[in-house]
Symmetry: C2
Subunit: 206 residues, 2 copies
């Protein structure tokens, strides 16, 4: 299809598509003339993925490219791709330039018996959150997080279950990414509502 149809079918403006092409978020189309290229459904799917990561989830263009590169470079090794996909996505912009002391978090991960990349950004995010909560006088330590971590294990099982039956490794990796990144607001929304409900259960009688 022409770039105009790609724009129409994806709902992404031609200008933005050209920007993504320049930034390497979208592979170039098949050149059919000096100023014309053909795009296919792969481009459409990739474009939707880019939109989800940048738009819905608000990732930066560079982080998005980092993630997409990880997906395409290692499509053979599902575990590696998932690890890269998960690891490459920063959890939030508050992550500091100079990484925090993660010894406490590393100890927790060890206690949990989890196989997690030493360089996973999640370690730093966890350490930073603990630090900021303490600075506000909230007494949390890695141990406060243990029961949360056990629930996270069960959440992860649900997550991975949704990837079964996807033969195309790239598709599996994309699905993993979508579920990881896009499901976050949903899970936090569920937590909010569950808190409201639990709060009602405990205090409504007051």
């Amino acid at each position: 299809m022409r770039i105009s149809e790609l724009s129409r079918r994806s709902g992404v403006s031609v200008t933005t598509i050209k920007y993504y092409l320049r930034e390497g978020l979208l592979p170039p189309g098949r050149q059919t003339a000096a100023t014309q290229a053909e795009y296919d459904d792969q481009h459409l799917r990739r474009l939707r993925l880019v939109r989800a990561l940048t738009g819905v989830r608000g990732l930066s263009v560079s982080t998005t490219r980092e993630v997409l590169d990880a997906l395409t470079e290692h499509t053979g090794d599902t575990h590696l791709v998932l690890g890269l996909a998960l690891g490459a996505v920063r959890l939030s912009d508050e992550t500091a330039e100079h990484p925090p002391e993660t010894a406490e978090v590393d100890a927790l991960v060890k206690e949990l018996g989890w196989a997690v990349n030493e360089a996973a950004p999640a370690r730093a995010t966890l350490a930073e959150t603990l630090a900021s909560l303490r600075s506000l006088g909230v007494p949390v330590d890695a141990h406060t997080l243990l029961p949360y971590a056990r629930l996270a294990e069960r959440t992860a099982v649900l997550d991975l279950d949704q990837l079964t039956g996807l033969d195309d490794p790239l598709e599996a990796a994309e699905r993993a990414l979508l579920l990881t990144v896009l499901l976050e607001p949903a899970l936090m929304a569920l937590r909010r509502m569950a808190q409201e409900n639990e709060s009602a259960r405990r205090h409504a009688a007051e």
Copy 2:
């Protein structure tokens, strides 16, 4: 204390403190002279809270004020304050101007038997996430979320447990807010690591 000491002890610049005062995020100090006011530990604590909400969690100034107002206006009724605190905090900026169709989510909440405010922003966030996942070809519906919701119930119990023993209702509400808002990155970090671990468990042998 003078504003200079408040700045020193909070690590927030005098300029920013004055901005927060203008925006109503911080109650005015006790005027001691035409150009001088006294601040106390309440101001220091509130300032740290504002920093946590705007800085660490990236809430907008108006959302932060909305939340803080909710906290102070209804300190008597713990459940109401928690509800307001939880409800007032938008989950993320992607929440649309025109709220989405939440019928499906409302049905899920009903099926869960949860007591949740009809106007809780979490309902819209959930509906939007489902919509965007589907637009990307990920087959999720409210039912996919049921097991996640049951885990969220248990997470909420852990959350509320951490509020027990706080007699001052305002302190309890502030704590609830901090745990709700600031713990989110930590819980998502735990999920990421748990996914990586679960992925290793399933695929590492490949």
